[in-house]
């Protein structure tokens, strides 16, 4: 297997690297493999992870000094990932059986943080990721998930921290009856650049997927949402939907929302959509008529828009954790 230095730097023409090229993601110079401090995991056993030929995964694997394994079985677990130092990295594998909730909070003042995750779901797993990194951090996250027979993964992310974020998340529905429900909420402010690439692959038929990404874009922030939905040949009876919505709050902010479909089976349902718009004046008027100032009304609409990304997530534990953190984050922003 090729290791990081042998892997060709991907061109910007690739869907995955169009808006945040590898050169911008790498913490130093692309040919270098700098020394990284370990991410501090509050949970997990020591473990090892296989290498990868995908450049970002290979890079994190090469520089990461730590790998942790988290095994869940009918439980709710909160995991803190503390990132500190100039450059830090870590790998984490997750295995879940039964009905579990996992709340992962990523925080710290690292200049650059890299996290690679692999996961396997048997049963139902609901995950809340909360990116709460310092506002000048660069963050790279790569994930690969397999969902087994009659199993469900609820995957929710609140992306509120960091200055430059790139996440590349891939889900594979590998057995019949498997389902993935994904909700991503990204809050853009200042010059924050937040790039989420999500691939969902229906490898077999009678599998369901839904992806909702909501991004609010204020100041001169830049949000990117790219999705690749693949329904493989013979995966009949698959049902898939992707929707990307951006709420534009300033003239200088930018948002890209690009869902792509690759459907190779005949008997499937596959839908996708993308929309970018400012706040609806009728919503503002409605809230103002209930006594909220324009500023208060806008803040409530933004909060609701972000929470609405999680409408498909059934786990109250996960939704409650996300709501609590979002409210704290928005209040901190409002108070400077």
């Amino acid at each position: 297997m090729m290791q990081y230095p042998q892997i060709t730097i991907p061109p910007r023409s690739e869907h995955l690297w169009r808006y945040t090229p590898w050169k911008r993601v790498h913490p130093t110079k692309v040919e270098e493999m700098p020394k990284a401090d370990p991410i501090k995991f509050s949970h997990g056993e020591e473990s090892e992870m296989h290498d990868s030929e995908e450049i970002a995964r290979a890079f994190i694997h090469s520089v990461s000094p730590i790998c942790r394994k988290i095994t869940l079985s009918d439980e709710t677990v909160e995991v803190d990932l503390r990132c500190s130092g100039h450059i830090c990295a870590g790998e984490m594998s997750i295995e879940s059986k039964g009905h579990s909730n996992l709340v992962i909070r990523i925080s710290g003042d690292a200049g650059w943080a890299g996290l690679r995750v692999t996961g396997s779901v048997s049963g139902t797993l609901s995950i809340a990721y909360i990116n709460d990194l310092a506002s000048d951090a660069h963050f790279l996250k790569c994930e690969d998930w397999e969902i087994l027979r009659d199993s469900t993964l609820e995957f929710a992310t609140l992306s509120a921290g960091g200055f430059l974020n790139k996440s590349d998340i891939r889900f594979d529905l590998i057995e019949k009856g498997s389902e993935i429900r994904t909700g991503i909420a990204s809050n853009g402010y200042g010059s924050r650049h937040d790039d989420h690439h999500l691939e969902i692959k229906h490898s077999v038929g009678h599998t369901d997927s839904s992806l909702v990404m909501h991004a609010t874009c204020n100041d001169s922030s830049h949000s990117v949402g790219t999705g690749l939905l693949t329904i493989t040949e013979g995966a009949d009876g698959s049902d898939a939907g992707q929707v990307f919505r951006n709420l534009l709050l300033s003239e200088k902010s930018r948002a890209e929302a690009i869902p792509e479909l690759e459907v190779l089976a005949d008997d499937v349902k596959a839908a996708h959509g993308a929309a970018s718009a400012p706040i609806d004046v009728n919503q503002i008027h409605y809230l103002a008529s209930r006594g909220l100032s324009n500023e208060e009304a806008s803040a409530l609409i933004v909060e609701g828009f972000l929470m609405d990304a999680f409408r498909e997530i059934k786990s109250e534990t996960v939704v409650s954790a996300l709501r609590t953190r979002l409210l704290v984050h928005l209040e901190c922003l409002m108070n400077g």
Binding site: V281, L287, S289, G291, N294, I301, E303, F305, D308, R311
Partner: protein
Amino acid sequence: MLSIENLHVSVEDTEIIKGLSLKINLGEVHAIMGRNGSGKSTLASVVMGHPDYEVTSGTIMFKGQPLEELEVYERARAGMFLSFQYPSSIPGVQVGTFLRKSVAAVRGEDAPSAREFRKELKAHMEALEMDKSFLSRYVNDGFSGGEKKRLEILQMLLLNPTLALLDETDSGLDIDALRVVSDGINSITPTAGCLLITHYQRLLDHVKPDFVHVMIDGKIVKTGGPELAAELESKGYDWLEE
């Protein structure tokens, strides 16, 4: 309390209201009836301050103050309430959160404590026959027509306005829901002025108006008592246009 003098209102250079005058005092119930497009909803929207409508001439005074000096949220805090014909949905915002924020904003220092608020809310929801699961749903998101109207009336009861503008609150309601909503309206009218905008007599069977006004082509062309509504029900509007 509300005094409108020779009001003219336009939307994108099209004049909708063409010289309307109306006075509503505390404790009075006024009903405005008229065909679609006669300007009834425009009147409610412009009094509440919707940005799409431009007052080209005339005056609107509320509690002795020119309304043009007040932002929309200031009108609400001054005691004005509009029950919308088509209330906006606010996805992601739970009804309970929204009501708490709204009550705190409008009632200010007089806002109830968290415990008192819950007690008040429970009493009003029971009176309106609303299930408590309403509170965790998103504001008007996926609501039926009747559910939206009940939520509007619940807000009115919690905000306890001195002037309530009710824009076709009876539309989308079945007979039982109409009775429940009417009871809610009747509970505030002793201490508030009320303007009912409606197409039908049926709401006025439950909420007795002191005055009925007929609006045609942006003007009030006739004013009478409750008997005028019954006359309109049987004769239509043609005789008023002649």
